[in-house]
Structures are given as C-alpha cells and as structure tokens.
Amino acid sequence: MGASLRGAAAIVGVATAGTGEAPGRTAIELLGEAAIAALGEAGVALGEVDGVFAATGTHGVPVLSVAEYLGLRPRYLGGTNVGGSSFEVHLLQAAMALQAGLCDVALIAYGSNQRTAGGRLVSMSEPQWHETPYRPRNPITGYAMAAARYMHQYGATREDLAAVAVAARKWANRNPQAFARGPLSLQDVLMSRMVSDPLTVADCCLVTDGGAACVLVRAERARDLKQQPVYLLGAGAAASHRSIVQMPDLTVTAAVESGARAFAMAGLRKDDIDLLMLYDAFTINTILFLEDLGYCPKGEGGRFVSSGAIDPGGALNVNTNGGGLSCVHPGMYGLFLIVEAVSQLRGQAGQRQVAAEIALCHGNGGTLASQATAILGTQAAL
C-alpha cells in the first residue's frame, strides 16, 4: 500500500533561520526567511510554490498566514497540525499532492520565536478539563510520567536517561549551529535541577527560536535542480491519544505503527537505515523510539543508550545535529529533523558527517500522542 509514492517526490531545498536566539524577529519572519532560503538553494522561484504545508504553535490558521506573508496563491493547502510531528506528516501529504498533480512545488514551513518571546516551551495543549484541577505542566508532566512508568517497569535508571542527553551533547559539540555546546557529563545531568520527577532540566529539550523550511517537487524535476535530490522513500503516521491519561501504555508509543508503515512503503528494514533522527523532546523519547522502531527490544533501551550505542562512533548514528536536547527546539522540532537528515544525505554535515544514503526521521507530537516516520534517501537508495 502506498508503494507508488516511493521515490515519487524529492526534497530539493532546505533551510533554517534564526535557530538559537533571534531577538527582534517574529515567528513569521523566521519562517519567511527559511522559506526564501530553501527556495533559493533549490533554484525554484517563490511564485512557483503552489502547495503550502505549515504548522506553528502561534498561528490559528498557519497555512493562510504563510501564503499571505509570502504572497502565494496555493492550490493545495496542507496544514495538518498534530504537534511536533506535523512536518513528517506534511512530507507524506506533499508527496501525495505532487504525485496527484494537485501541486507542482510544495513548501513545508515553520517558525517560532518562543525563546525571545517568552522563554517557555509553547504548550500545544488547550486545557483538558479532566486534567485541569491537578495542574499538569504540559508537556513535561506527561513525559515525566512516561519516564517514571518506564523506569518502574523495566528497571531503567536516571543514568540511562542522562546518557541520552550526554550523547546528544557530544554530537552538538561537532555542530557549530547547535545552541547548547560544551562539556556535559552524566553527573551534570543527574545534578541538574529536578523539574518533574524523574526529569531534570537537562533531560528536557531546549527552548530556542528558529524557522525551517523544505521544498519538494516530483522526482523527474528534482534531478534538474541545483541540489542533490533527497527522495521520500516511505512515510507513515499514527496517533494513540490526545491527553496522556488516554495513552494505553506509557512505555509503548504509536511509533510501532508509524515506523512499520514507513518501512513497508520504503521496502526497507531497520538495518538499511544509516541515520536515525528521533524527536528528543525529552531523554525518555529517544529510548522509547529506539525500541518502538525496532532497534532494541522493549525495556532494553536504557541499557542500550548507556552502553554508548548512540554516542558519536557508536553502533547507531542518532540525532547527529545534537537533537532537540542540545541543538534546537523552538516548540515544534519536526522540520529540523528533516533539515539535518537532508544535510547528512547530501554530505554537507561538516565535522559531524556520517556515511549515509538512507535516513529515518521520526517525529513526535503532543505528549507522545502523534507519531510520524519518514524515510529519506539519496539517488543511490532508489
């Protein structure tokens, strides 16, 4: 199912803008800067964009805001918002719209100035009436409860969680674009301020500014453009709940389903993947997604990351930009996974470059609620 989408569309331009701190610039300005830069590197004119896909934490109807700001008259409007994983869903929808001829140039874009605007992680949640009396601090409350449950059920430790943050920092230290650089030890993470047991502030993603954009066209046109095309090989999405209360098992995410769908469409297996970009809003995420995408058995993820498996030079290449934990996290991080995967697949990742023809981007949204997996590859992977 969906096999005809494999390789049908390609990413031909990516860009970020204002990642880290961007004082004096608004969310839509960052988004606009990234969009113009992505089109520029693709060699595609702004006026050619006729499919717009956008999600932000601050716009009620982001697709309209983006189209108006850039002066576009899109004929395909794709603004699915399922939280931070929206952009992996947009990849799938853009490929569908391109293949169906409903648009010829798809722009996926995001922007946020949450760091300079308020310094707090923008919550994706309208209050859930059955949660409100207990004052959960979304999203961290949900992730902290998932971490607590996971530790209880599988004997994982705070050191295991901390190992994820330390590995991310090691990668960030190879990435001049990363916001948080410098030494970070297990002890540093463990001794950081406890925010929501068992998660310290160092188990939580950054709160940064940043815009990002990505341009897709059909494969036949992609080959004639300026950049080495990065093809969408497969994608799949899944959703298990809205409120953490309704997540059936806090130790198993719907990445089990989204990953299987993406692998099936791509006709690939887990060992075919050279780079894993996993949405690490909190340290527990990386562990759960490694398990749920099949890279280690359920319950073994903590020991797996503590063994050094996701450190630079380890068994797997994971979150080579430094992740949401140490590189960038402006509220919705999903598009930044894609930008890093494209940089790696093109061989443009500098000091942190890994040998990669196929990359998996796994997006997460809400409190472990929506999961979307997209597998990207070079010409050689087709």
Binding site: H130, P133, Y134, R135, V245
Partner: protein, 124 residues
C-alpha cells in the same frame, strides 16, 4: 420533550454528581465496558447505551511525577480505577507514592470546585 428537559451532557452530568458528593462513572449496558472521562459513546466501539454507576473509588497508581516549582512541589498521578479506566488525579498527604500503591478516592474542593483526589489506601 421541551429543550430544558433534555439531560445534561456527560461532562456536565459527571460534575453535577461530584457536586452532590457522588463519584459516578459511565458503563455500557450491553458490553459492560466502563468509560472515563465521560463521553457520548464508548470510544472505539461506539455503543451509546451508557448508564451512570457508582465507582468503587478503589484504584492503584499507574504513573506519578512531582512537579517542582519555585512555589513548591506537588504530585500529579495517573491512577487506574478498579473498574478499568484511568484518570489523572493527585495523591493527598504525601509528596509522592510508589507505582502500584493502592488508593481510595475522595471528593475534595480544588479552587472551590469539587474534584476527585486519592489517599493511600493504607492510611484510610
């Protein structure tokens, strides 16, 4: 039937019971499936034959965190009701509680509104 004779929606009905000091949850007459939070149909299967029954108030801790702020610390828990459904609540009288601990429900006032909280069963 006039408009004002129509029953309350499930959310308002649940809160009305709480205001009367009753912890009621929904159950499907045909499937026996319990539902919380209250809805117009059983999620996933769609039965609309939901009736209100008294909850036992017995529960266990499924997951818990302590939110630490400058103003102080308080716990937030997911509790599994004996009837099956899970809800968010807090465990009163302790900073935190072990996962699996047995609980008993109580209706308390939170910011002036009736709300369910839980006590450790051993302390009841």
């Amino acid at each position: 039937m006039s408009d004002d004779a129509k029953p309350l929606g499930p959310q308002a009905q649940f809160k009305a019971y709480l205001a009367e000091g009753r912890f009621m949850i929904q159950r499907s007459r045909s499937s026996g499936h319990y539902v919380f939070y209250p809805r117009v149909a059983v999620p996933g299967s769609g039965e609309t034959d939901l009736e209100w029954v008294a909850a036992s108030g017995e529960a266990t801790v499924y997951a818990i965190t302590v939110n630490r702020t400058r103003e102080g610390a308080y716990n937030i828990a997911l509790v599994d009701l004996a009837e099956g459904p899970r809800m968010m609540s807090r465990i009163e009288g302790v900073e935190t509680a072990p996962i699996g601990a047995r609980l008993k429900a109580r209706i308390a006032a939170i910011e002036g509104e009736p709300a369910l909280v839980f006590d450790l069963a051993e302390q009841v």
